[in-house]
Subunit: 579 residues, 2 copies
């Protein structure tokens, strides 16, 4: 049993067993993740509508925050695509006068989101993430990938385009279509082609020349770095800036400026909704990556501790000129595959990015923005998985509706409305389904004591005993429907003497349903019928005992349906013989 303090501060656990061997593994992983993270950080900052260096800043202190408090051994945090898109969308709703104001607002967003994550973690409310169903998340990620790719096309085409939804982007493109910039387009297309080839063609090629599969994959991950280096050199050598190709330009070298974001009640209020959504989406994305990796090494993730780790990371981002961060899928897999064993790898990565921020920024001057856009486009297209639509359609119409709504509304109306509508629709569809429960008339499977649907199985029934298995908890939304169902079924059935409600699937009976049961009991008594219950679960029975229903019930409560059936059939026979 881990002590409370060790759980809250995981380095006490992994730090104790730390050794030189582990350090070498962590350092190796950190070097590879650093190389991968530099172009990603710059690119995602641009996606979020912020200067490139903000991406680097968001990859230093936040990594330290997570390493100290997070529960995953191998999760790599930092700027990620979906959260960057959500940041851009949140900042887009504000009317920000300058880049400095945008940076300040992004910091406030990170602090807010961090405080929310921390509060959820301390209150152990990580379960809130469960309300994002798998179809909603899948639909949201897919739609976000498409939106991100569409928003980055402007850098590839070299035209100024604005918008946070597909219609806004399309309209803006239509206006600017005439001014597509040839050299930028050429550079962008070549880079995209190269990156796709690296993804799909390089690994097998390296394997053919004798590298192991692992090494080949690891080398392929350096594709974006190669693209950055090659296009930067090309831009410098051929003076692409002079030909109108947009470049990153001056990136200030040095440590990230520290300081609390200015407290502005109006700004915090405007950002509260987006911050909550960013927190939850970021958490869901991060925790699923962490769990996948932990399972591979038989480790466990503590979701509430993850909230605290991500909260610390975001607060760290907010006070060090960063913007919201979370655990990223690709970089965590790289970290894991490269052999990271403890969160110390994250600390070492932070040192690597810090060195980059101090010394590498002059080298980024000639980096074309089209290159960064190309790395984003290639990365996010792997998020797009429209097959979820087909799979959901095959499995269930409700899940399909949730996916389709989330994708459509995210694309057409933006990330916040899209994911919000998906969540609300999922809940309403669940409620609507439980409001129309499946009811099966059941009979005895011969040779057993088991009862099944008379329409699906060969079963034994008795004309004097009607057994209905109600496949849902009884509560306000379905109580009166059940009442009607039972009346409709029993009216005109002359042989009937007993009605048994088999409650094996009734997990709750609320006050509204209790009233309905009382009404059913009286109404059946008026018709000369006796009402019985069978297989009532313990917690439901406890509650019924606190009401007057059991004393008014005309029949009995049987432990098992088999009990009920044999007892009632026998009593009917006796009655019949007596007549």
């Amino acid at each position: 049993m881990t002590l409370r303090i060790e759980r809250l501060f995981p380095p006490l656990v992994w730090g104790r067993a730390y050794s030189g061997r582990v350090f070498v593994h962590d350092l190796m992983a950190a070097v590879i993740v650093t190389i991968m993270l530099i172009p990603q950080s710059l690119a995602y900052a641009l996606l979020a509508g912020l200067p490139a260096e903000i991406g680097l800043y968001a990859s230093i202190l936040p990594l330290v925050g997570y390493a100290l408090f997070g529960s995953s051994r191998t999760l790599a945090v930092g700027p990620v695509a979906v959260v960057s898109l959500m940041t851009a969308s949140a900042l887009g709703t504000l009317d920000l006068p300058s880049t400095a104001a945008a940076i300040a607002a992004a910091g406030a967003l990170a602090v807010l989101s961090g405080l929310m994550l921390l509060a959820l973690g301390i209150l152990r409310l990580g379960v809130i993430a469960n309300y994002l169903s798998h179809p909603v998340i899948a639909g949201f990620i897919t739609a976000s990938g498409l939106l991100i790719a569409a928003s980055q096309l402007k850098h590839i085409l070299g035209v100024p385009v604005h918008g946070h939804t597909l219609p806004e982007l399309a309209l803006s493109f239509a206006e600017e279509a005439v001014s597509i910039h040839g050299p930028t387009l050429l550079l962008g297309v070549i880079t995209i082609g190269f990156l796709f080839w690296v993804r799909s063609g390089l690994t097998p090629a390296l394997q053919r020349i004798g590298l192991s599969k692992g090494s080949a994959q690891m080398l392929s991950r350096t594709g974006p770095v190669l693209a950055v280096a090659a296009t930067t050199v090309a831009a410098w050598y051929w003076d692409l800036e002079g030909q109108g190709v947009a470049i990153v330009g001056d990136v200030p070298a040095g440590l990230p400026p520290l300081g609390m974001p200015l407290f502005d009640a109006g700004l915090f209020l405007a950002l509260a909704g987006p911050a909550l959504l960013i927190s939850i989406i970021g958490f869901v994305e991060s925790v699923s990556v962490a769990q996948t990796l932990a399972a591979k090494r038989r480790q466990r993730i503590d979701p509430d501790q993850e909230l605290i780790g991500l909260g610390a990371a975001n607060i760290a981002a907010g006070v060090s000129s960063g913007y919201p961060v979370t655990g990223g899928f690709a970089r965590s897999v790289v970290n894991f595959d490269a052999g990271a064993e403890t969160p110390a790898a994250g600390l070492l990565t932070a040192v690597g990015i810090l060195l980059a921020a101090l010394f590498l920024t002059p080298a980024l001057y000639y980096l074309p923005k089209a290159t960064l856009a190309a790395t984003i486009i290639v990365a996010v297209l792997s998020l797009v998985d429209l097959s979820i639509l087909r799979r959901a359609w095959r499995y269930s119409r409700a899940d399909f509706a949730a996916v389709l709504t989330t994708i459509t509304l995210t694309l057409l109306m933006g990330v916040e409305i899209g994911v919000g509508a998906g969540v609300v629709l999922s809940i309403l569809l669940f409620i609507a389904k439980t409001a129309r429960p499946h009811v099966a008339e059941v009979g005895l499977v011969p040779g057993t004591q088991h009862f099944r649907n008379i329409l699906r199985h060969e079963v034994v029934t008795d004309p004097t005993v009607l057994t209905l298995r109600i496949d849902e908890s009884l509560y306000f939304a379905n109580a009166s429907r059940m009442e009607d169902y039972i009346y409709d079924r029993v009216v005109g059935d002359k042989d009937l003497a007993h009605v048994v409600l088999m409650c094996s699937a009734v997990n709750e009976i609320d006050m509204s349903a209790l009233e309905s049961l009382e009404a059913i009991n009286h109404r059946l008594a008026d018709l000369g019928l006796t009402l019985h219950l069978s297989e009532v679960k313990g917690p439901v029975m406890d509650r019924l005992r606190r009401s007057a229903f059991l004393s008014e019930l005309t029949g009995q409560v049987f432990l098992s349906q088999y009990d009920a059936f044999t007892t009632l059939c026998r009593s009917s026979e006796n009655q019949h013989e007596a007549v």
Copy 2:
């Protein structure tokens, strides 16, 4: 089987069997209901913030509309307390310049509400009313009764007071407390005392002097009419108006002015929300009265036809200078007890009120408003039932929370927010409950094939077989929690070889839960455990067959838990012997 046209137009059914004997019964009932309805109509119109005659108008054509289309034989429609309060609240949010504007807006509200009821009926969406749980309705009616009584105190105290919530009313009273009008207060208190005595003391007194219980109760119902007559005469004789007692004054005699309410898009939009709420609350109130009475005579109510009947009544109210109406409890009981057999009693009541509107209005000139307020207060206090709080507390905390929230918010923030919050809270509490399902570890009840909770029953178990009965449908909100539960349970249990999920209470498995099941299956396989399912219901099995899960499942799906247990125990034994 009733034909479709006969169902849509019920007079085709009851009209065919109409006879002189039935007419005499209907006429008797109509006379008594008319006498009762006159003071009620006037009083409720004042409660709605409208001139008294509007109440009479709302008791003529609407009764005809319901008689032609409603499915209840004995329901008496017209102005009722709660809907009048809601009308006052809806009109209060508008900035209406004159009484004429208020009348026009009330007509528009009635037409809107009528159209909504009609649409719900035609689309057979009466089930929407099911989402108002019993605790929410009970809380709402109780709070409305208190609000109505508080709002009528101004007529008893003779002070001008405004407001639609308890704090508004209290503040307004506090300002006006110094100007309480003595003569009005005296009149009001005497009338209230008289009406309470009629309710509680008159019936037994009349029975003592030899009347049957039924006749005594019927006579007691005339209490409000006696109060109206006596105080009107007193006000005329002692010139109470001259002493500052507010009287009804001129009530125009004649037919209700007919005509469509002016179509004003802004007005209709502003009234749409309140109209929907009025429609649903009115429908719920009305249909529960209709069902109670129908059950007594073994008749059936068709809820969707009721929507059409109430829709017709409200449209009729809107085009004849009335305001929203619905079926009233007290008057329907009187109608029923007085022997009404068909909706023709409603038609005859309409004729009675029409005659009153034509010829009786001059007699109402001296009627003190305090008398009308007294009849309202005495009537609505019977709606107030705070015992629902105690009963809900005893039965379930979730139901209690719903009642308390509805009562508190209705009193503090008004009817719309109160009932809206109650509905939303009920749904959220249901979702929250299903998100934390009860899970029981079960064993075999000796001598049966029945499995129950090992903590509650003496049962047989096997160390190699763990059977978990999950008492909830598996869906997004609880899927990952179930995953964690199972891992936590199996970790460290060295003897275990098989895990059986008993699905008798699992009514659905959605896509998110399917993913969790797949993860559980793989994870248990990693631990060397086999996963089995038992008692999977037909509809759930149909869905699983459309996925890849069943082919990946390491174990089997057993028809019954008994099957699963005996098969798996035997296989473990064999394995054990082989070792």
